[in-house]
């Protein structure tokens, strides 16, 4: 692969890493506005991250090397996953046949260690979070395959970049297919990044949380890594969502970028809206919610395969 595409890849990776906190800031801001508050500034997440670095690191007595290494593994895994994503028509840094699998499994790696680290503390709160994370992940992965994966299977491309750019809009049923896909990707994003209505990052009632409760006992640089990688993860899913709409930009970078930004804004609004109007589900209902998303995926796929 030639130099320019490498450059593109690096640039888009840097963009992703740089913009991810901003997106969170955007969501929070809009939420505040919806609820009639002024809210913190857009850059608030950056400040928080900065602050976290300066804090002293505290490890629990019962913790082991696991909770020491996990933040780093977590972060790296997420970054690698991020490096596979296209921004507009820029060629991602990592792109090869079948990288979609690697993408899914990198996130899997992150999750594996996240859960271990949570259990490492030996307190029942983290345990709770870990158990929930593991359980819901089991149902989240199929959704990913039913959406992005389904396009891969249909188009015959197995690299995320190609998958997205194989989308053609000349076929109506395919458009419908894409739109429904994007819906279930949204649900997936909500789940994986533990936003409402699956998880509520803002309450501080441990019993109700999934992601937050897993990192209760982390602070300082560790917490920084955790938070940052969770921001990136959210942004990754946002990009997955956004990429559905590249085809509207007919092979032009600028248009693509514009679409990218627009979609990001819309999504943040959507997230904020959802988080303001809905409340958290009961924990035991969440699997049903996920299965519902899966069902959408399957139905969608069936409709597509048989209306072709």
């Amino acid at each position: 692969m030639e130099l320019t595409s490498i450059l593109q890849g690096i640039i888009s990776l840097v963009l992703i890493l740089g913009l991810s906190p901003l997106f969170v800031g955007l969501v929070n801001k809009q939420k505040a506005i919806f609820t009639g508050r002024i809210g913190a500034s857009l850059l608030q997440p950056y400040y928080e991250l900065m602050k976290l670095i300066k804090k002293e690191t505290i490890n629990a007595t019962s913790s082991s090397f696991i909770s020491a290494v996990t933040p780093m593994i977590n972060f790296i895994a997420v970054v690698i996953a991020a490096a596979m994503l296209p921004i507009s028509f820029a060629h991602p840094l990592i792109s090869f046949e079948g990288d979609i699998i690697l993408f899914a499994y990198m996130l899997g790696l992150a999750r594996f260690f996240q859960v271990l680290a949570a259990m490492d503390i030996g307190s029942s709160f983290e345990g709770m979070g870990a158990a929930r994370e593991a359980t819901f992940a089991v149902f989240a992965e199929p959704i990913f395959f039913f959406t992005v994966g389904s396009i891969a299977f249909i188009s015959g491309f197995t690299s995320i970049y190609d998958i997205y750019h194989s989308i053609r809009l000349d076929n109506l049923s395919f458009v419908v297919f894409i739109i429904v896909c994007s819906i279930s990707v949204f649900i997936l994003a909500v789940t994986e990044c533990s936003r409402m209505p699956v998880d509520d990052p803002n309450t501080h009632l441990e019993l109700t949380m999934i992601h937050e409760v897993m990192i209760l006992d982390n602070s300082g640089i560790d917490l920084f890594l955790y938070q940052y990688s969770s921001y990136i993860k959210l942004f990754i899913y946002v990009i997955l969502e956004a990429s559905f709409f590249y085809p509207f930009a007919v092979q032009s970078y600028t248009l693509g970028i514009i679409i990218f930004l627009v979609v990001i804004f819309i999504l943040s609004a959507a997230l904020a809206a959802v988080e303001t109007i809905t409340s958290r589900f009961k924990m035991k209902n969440i699997p049903h919610y996920l299965l519902f998303a899966t069902a959408i995926g399957i139905l969608n796929l069936l409709i597509y395969t048989f209306t072709r």
Binding site: I53, T57, M72, F96, E97, F112, D120, S124, T158
Partner: protein
């Protein structure tokens, strides 16, 4: 090829060493050294043969005498290599394992003998070329494995578990009789090398496939026939259970692949059947595993899962062969073969690890463990590598083979249009689901066993050098295959081209961008190191300290407040409780001063507890109720003579 036979002889000689040394320590040491020597020489010989691909099909010169008992083709050699490769560290572990018993003053002679016999017979099974010879080796293998399992004869569950295994292998061999008889009748030769003559799909073809799939599938432990694994694995001495689920169940896979060589192309529906069976075994294997508390039976169910994954690969290969599509076959069978190797490695690692834990703590119930990481850090690291690998998570070897199988799905979808993408997608989703469950399961056992605080105080937790050595070798293999798969892929490709795909060498296996993968993995490691350094510097700057865990203001957390294995897995088990036979027993009364309560959760195997045992029980009761011929009175004896003579005379009368 002589070297191989000499190596086998060397291994056999270890039996003599085991028997004739009077002093136990000496005898065990001597026999293990001989075994290792034999295995290593054999491994080198086999590997060189495999790499230089000098596959002598017939007229093997054995000590100068030409005989057609043996056959060294790529497939056989590949499995031979796997066996020896896995056997070496297992043998190393076996030494220190037996040392414990010797110190207790228990006689380990029988164990030594049967282990050696088992090793040799298993190696012979995969290179046997004569059907009868194959059967003999096969039965010797099963029997010696059975005898080895019975190390702690006293225990009841040991007897039942091993007996399950024995009966299973008896059924298998009965089916194999018919299988080989039919093949012999078709080709009137007993040699494997002549068997693959017949082709075309007649009824016989299907019968043959059915026989072989049932027989070998039973040995491999596919889903309806998996019942014996969770019975036999936990009770066997660790060395044997490691070898059992590392190697012996793979001989079933070997058999199925051989069958495919004999009868190909396979009909397509067969491919779907195998794929479906594999998928079911994978999903429910890991789900059952999630419900276990006994570390060894948990691992046994994971063998079912991994065999299922291998089965998926084989199924893809069958479909490919039905459509004469080279790439699909290459990817399907390639994935299956590589996963066979990988599973042999990490499953043996995990079993050896569980054995070490069992030796130290004296229990296999993970609910009573915890906090072991503070006793054996490096041990935990090694075990963790195995767990990550078996969950198919990068950057270790499990991911590589699953990656190939995923590619198989993709290629199938691409090659064969219309409804295939849908089916392949569903298979892929299934595999992803399995991956998710596996992650849940292995996070469970790792965190419950090693992390947190110890639930039951640990008397001593010592790990001998040999144990570290064998675990280390296994872990190293996991890492190497993960980071640098090219050579292994090459070997697998060679095996495929030699044995399976008639046409020219297609390299859809080599096309995959392995370099990039290994680069990525190396970047991961490098990145971790970089961040580690940065983190250290930050921590030097802003300080780091240890304090008690944040219990939401609640002081005095105690170990019994930790999440337990059952509570961890409960939510997932609830979902398919009917299949898992998952049931909980809660004893607690909620008055003002609550008395001591208790909670336990169990999972009964559907096939074993709900089908086999009741059926056998009612059957034997039925038979026991038959009073026919059970008279004690001489007059009846005499009467029978009269009766039977009249019957026979009537037959004679009606004859003409």
């Amino acid at each position: 090829m002589d070297t191989l036979f000499y190596s086998l002889l060397l291994q056999l000689s270890s039996i003599a060493a085991g028997i004739f040394f009077t002093e136990k320590k000496k005898s065990s040491a001597a026999s293990h050294i001989l075994l290792l020597a034999g295995l290593i020489t054999g491994f080198i010989a086999a590997l060189t043969a495999l790499i230089n691909s000098d596959f002598t099909l017939k007229d093997i010169q054995m000590f100068g005498i030409s005989n057609n008992l043996f056959r060294f083709d790529a497939l056989g050699l590949y499995f031979l290599c796997i066996i020896q490769l896995v056997a070496i560290p297992t043998t190393i572990y076996s030494y220190s394992y037996l040392k414990h018993y010797i110190e207790k003053g228990k006689s380990v002679r029988s164990n030594l003998v049967f282990y050696a016999v088992l090793l040799v017979s298993t190696q012979l099974v995969v290179v046997a070329n004569h059907a009868i010879f194959f059967l003999v080796c096969w039965e010797v293998m099963s029997t010696s494995a059975y005898l080895g399992m019975n190390f702690e004869k006293g225990k009841k569950e040991v007897q039942t578990g091993s007996f399950y295994y024995l009966v299973m292998s008896h059924v298998v061999v009965f089916l194999l009789y018919i299988f080989f008889f039919l093949l012999h009748n078709q080709t009137n030769s007993w040699l494997f090398s002549d068997f693959h003559l017949l082709s075309g799909t007649g009824d016989l073809f299907i019968v043959l496939y059915a026989l072989s799939l049932i027989a070998f599938g039973m040995k491999a432990g596919f889903m309806p026939f998996h019942f014996w694994l969770p019975r036999a694995h936990p009770i066997a001495p660790t060395v044997f259970s490691a070898f059992l689920s590392g190697i012996i169940i793979k001989t079933g896979i070997y058999g199925i692949l051989r069958t495919f060589q004999f009868l190909n192309p396979a009909p397509e529906w067969l491919g779907w059947l195998v794929l479906a069976v594999g998928m079911i075994s994978a999903v429910y294997g890991v789900w059952y595993a999630l419900a276990q508390h006994d570390i060894k039976s948990l691992l046994a169910y994971h063998s079912v899962e991994n065999i299922g994954i291998i089965g998926i690969g084989i199924g893809i290969g069958f479909i490919g062969s039905a459509y004469h599509s080279i790439p699909i076959q290459i990817l399907g069978f390639g994935g299956a073969l590589l996963h066979t190797l990988n599973h042999a490695i990490f499953k043996s690692l995990l079993f050896v690890g569980s054995g070490v834990i069992y030796q130290n703590l004296g229990t296999r119930n993970i609910e009573q463990m915890g906090g072991l990481v503070h006793y054996g850090k490096y041990f935990v690291v090694l075990f963790l590598i195995g767990s990550i690998a078996i969950s198919g998570i990068p950057p270790f070897n499990g991911f590589i083979s699953e990656f190939i199988i995923y590619n198989g799905f993709f290629t199938t979808a691409k090659e064969l249009e219309n409804y295939y993408p849908l089916l392949m997608l569903i298979s892929a989703v299934g595999l992803a689901f399995v991956g998710g469950l596996a992650v849940a399961c292995f996070t469970k056992i790792n965190s419950i066993m090693f992390l947190g605080k110890e639930r039951k105080e640990v008397k001593h937790f010592k790990i001998s050098f040999y144990e570290y050595l064998s675990l280390g070798i296994f872990a190293l293999l996991c890492i190497v295959i993960g980071f640098y798969p090219q050579p292994f892929i090459g070997v697998v490709n060679k095996v495929l081209i030699d044995g399976f795909v008639p046409a020219a060498p297609s390299s859809s296996l080599l096309n995959i961008n392995w370099q990039l993968l290994s680069i990525i993995f190396i970047t991961v490691i490098a990145g971790i190191i970089l961040i580690y350094l940065w983190k250290k510097s930050i921590q030097k700057k802003y300080g780091r300290r240890i304090s008690t865990a944040w219990g939401c203001g609640y002081e005095g957390l105690n170990p019994r407040m930790q999440y337990t294995a059952s509570s961890y897995a409960d939510e997932l088990n609830e979902i398919s409780k009917s299949v898992l036979g998952y049931h909980k027993k809660v004893i607690a009364q909620n008055d003002i001063f609550p008395a001591k309560g208790s909670f336990e959760s169990h999972s009964d195997d559907l096939v074993d507890k709900k089908i086999l045992l009741p059926v056998f029980k009612s059957f034997s009761e039925f038979i026991a109720r038959i009073k026919f011929l059970s008279y004690t009175d001489i007059r009846y004896y005499i009467a029978f003579i009269l009766i039977i003579i009249t019957i026979y005379s009537l037959i004679a009368f009606l004859w003409s």
